[in-house]
Symmetry: C3
Subunit: 355 residues, 3 copies
């Protein structure tokens, strides 16, 4: 990973001006809209040519497009971006398109702590982080013969919502498993899904205090996944399976939600524990993150995943949310990121939120 000293050096060359740059996808509309609202110039990184859809969203259209031939080429052009005083905002597609290893070496100030990638991208380390923080996760099952309740089976090569299946028992597992593939098995928790959008600020005073900085709760969504979230209309997964239509889990959009208010203390508790453990393990996860949990009918959160940066579900809340509105007006997660950079800059603490 690129050393912090190098980032500080680049940042030193920016003098007083910062531009917010990100890849044109995922949650870029709110990132650009929010950055502009906080007074920053914006740069949209795109392949080949400027995407036309920004023309329909003038408030979110970046001030400038930075065109590359391919994502890896971004690495070759970092000095050009540095000349434009770019601070990079990572999002899921940015990291995925560039590749985690390349992202770690990106020779530009990026928002957040890049070291989180090591803990987030490896399922075992992610589990170590969250369970050692005290969060409850679905159990892992090593031997399929031990399946005694519904399980979620995930092939090692699973990607983009495919390569999963739900098995009710060992028989069902055997019937559905592809013997040639490696897989992991975890308990399938039945309940309702909440993707909770937190923001950890190491430089903000007041608020919900952590050992350092504070924790905010900005919004909640539920991922809308094809085909599983449309499959119920056909009446029977089993019959669909016989016709060759298996359940898949490809994210196509997001639906807004609020959480029962009496669950908020627990939601803050798990958010707090996750941040505190991150401070201990790798210097802290900075900025937006999402805990993705099933709420059981015992009203427990079973966390099945963490996303350690802005998630696309926040796209619902570009003008605020039932939670963010109690903090400030018209505060999207994208805007909150820009504000964090602005606050850190004003306090001369930029290196606390960049890496």
């Amino acid at each position: 990973m690129i050393p912090k000293e190098r980032i500080a050096e680049i940042l030193g060359s920016y003098e007083d001006s910062i531009s917010i740059a990100t890849v044109c996808s995922h949650s870029s509309l709110q990132i650009f809209d929010g950055a502009r609202k906080e007074g920053f110039k914006t740069i949209g990184i795109a392949i080949g040519k400027p995407p036309r859809y920004y023309d329909a969203f003038p408030k979110a259209k970046p001030d400038e497009f930075f065109i590359v031939d391919s994502y890896p080429q971004i690495l070759e052009k970092t000095s050009e971006l540095a000349e434009k005083n770019a601070v990079v905002i990572p999002h899921g597609s940015f990291v995925e398109y560039l590749g985690a290893q390349r992202f770690l070496e990106l020779d530009l100030p990026t928002f957040g702590n890049r070291r989180v990638l090591e803990w987030e991208s490896d399922r075992d380390k992610e589990r170590e982080w969250l369970t050692s923080a005290g969060l409850s996760m679905p159990k892992e099952i090593d031997n399929p013969e031990n399946i005694d309740s519904p399980v979620l089976v995930k092939y090692h090569g699973a990607k983009g919502g495919r390569g999963f299946f739900i098995a009710k028992d060992y028989e069902d597992f055997k019937a559905k498993a592809d013997s040639g593939e490696k897989y992991s098995i975890q308990e399938y928790i039945v309940g309702t899904r909440y993707y909770m959008h937190y923001f950890y600020s190491p430089v903000t005073d007041g608020g919900y205090r952590l050992s350092k900085g504070c924790l905010e709760f900005l919004s909640i969504d539920r991922r809308d996944e094809s085909n599983i979230d449309g499959l119920y209309r056909t009446g029977s997964q089993e019959e669909m399976r016989k016709m060759g239509i298996d359940p898949t889990f490809v994210v196509t959009g997001n639906i807004p939600l609020v959480l029962r208010e009496s669950l908020l203390p627990k939601a803050f508790d798990i958010g707090e524990k996750t941040v505190e453990k991150s401070l201990e393990l790798f210097g802290g996860m900075i900025g937006p993150f999402s805990l993705e949990a099933i709420v059981t009918d015992d009203l427990e959160f079973k966390v099945f995943e963490i996303s350690a940066r802005i998630v696309a579900g926040t796209n619902l809340f570009i003008s605020g949310s039932p939670y963010a509105d109690l903090l400030d007006e018209k505060m999207s997660t994208g805007r909150r990121i820009a504000r964090e950079i602005r606050i850190a800059k004003e306090k001369n603490l930029l290196m606390e939120v960049l890496s």
Copy 2:
């Protein structure tokens, strides 16, 4: 129930100042946020210590916490609350935690008509109220042998979303029923669920006129219930049942909705009839209430429940809703309550909205 004269007496001691007090849960964020927007001081009643989650929502953090050891202790401390000029806003958790009987005796001015509890908490009286008002409800079935269409069976001790089951016919009923338990059986209506949030103001001129005051329509949600609203993803309830996973109906959150506009006249009609009948039966249900209905494919409302105070589904609409926005800006149900108190106070009609 505490006599109205006593409430008027306490209120008399408040002189010109009122504080809005409620228990820190359920819909308290919007109640405090709304009260502050309408110019009131706010008091959060909490057990043991102030809940930390308000620190993350500064606009909704009460001006003061009022700490008790247990909910029943609130009754012993009413004079302290009266010294703070507290007007209590009841919500579902408040009434449940305190207990309906204790709530009736609470020696403090409370928003709304406490007499509604008698009609709301008893299933038979609730049915009497709503059906005599002319609303259509799911039929009750006295003898399980008469089950000839899907039914919802509810054990008498059912609480918090458990103790229900759906039976398709008498055979299914026999297979699922626990012989030791008492139960009630009602027709299971298949359709889409709408939890409609009304507001009845006895002191507002203009608007949708009732025999006295007016009716408002603020928003709609759908309760999100664990595990039933996640169960479809497993493909088969029947197979889950075999694995020991039965459907449960525990509220975990809420999803926003709008209603087909051509159904609004019917929605107002049933709201109006419910209020008019309440005026006749017990002097009227004041303030927010919710009719919870299935809309069938014949576009009829089958009302399965009434909540005679603010419901948690309104938490979605802390900055307004597609309906409330046509009435006024940024009007949550919590704020609407505070405004009602403000209007009543200005008109010297406080005792019309308190009990």
Copy 3:
């Protein structure tokens, strides 16, 4: 269809003043609210007497009600409406209640191009339009014996969400089909449903440019349909069918959504192609339209319908949406229509947006 010259003539008589008129249903609240926000007088056309529900929504209550005995009577009273300088905004209920043929002859300026009706109301012409534009639609199957994957069967008389069924295979088709009825069969696409709300403006400069004018993307909803969207809770469609409860698809409301951002370029592409082809085929579809699509787990849009005017799903977004907010503040589709009329008027291009 009424000649454009006649419309221009009526419009000539309006001098400088325009009133926005529509039938009191469907999406009329936002149409009136939006028209007022853009400075227009509003006229609500209603049967028998003014609908009371507007009293609860003062911002959306039309300035004046225009009462008729029946919808066809509107045709006899067009001169009265013309005297009031009425420009008519069509919506789904308006066209349905009046009848498409009568709507074509309505002797009043109406927003949009009435010629679109010919292409939209005939399933074959609709398919010709959309497929020749390059959109992907569910395949049609001429002979039921060729059913080799799930299909949606629609009786020719199907109306209002009834008269459809899903068949898994030919056997299932035979078991469910009513032999006396004519039907059409199309591929049943399993995936998530997005009802995308576009706006085509022939008179706006800038934005997402088309060969003429520009394309906007205002919001997305999902229709909530009774009983199909509640049926999953019963556990089994098959068992419900045995009890005489068949799936139906009657719209009762709408749920808000956003689309995965990486799908926006495709969403614009299909919107653009649809408009460009409409310009070629019949002079263009003006104003709001909706493409209603399944997103498959291959992230492809399978368009199953077009609505060539304001759809009721936009009722969710009366104060803006995650998309419209990036264009302008508090922009509903109803308001966007009024603004289009205002812009066209200011540019002396009214006949470009009326017919």
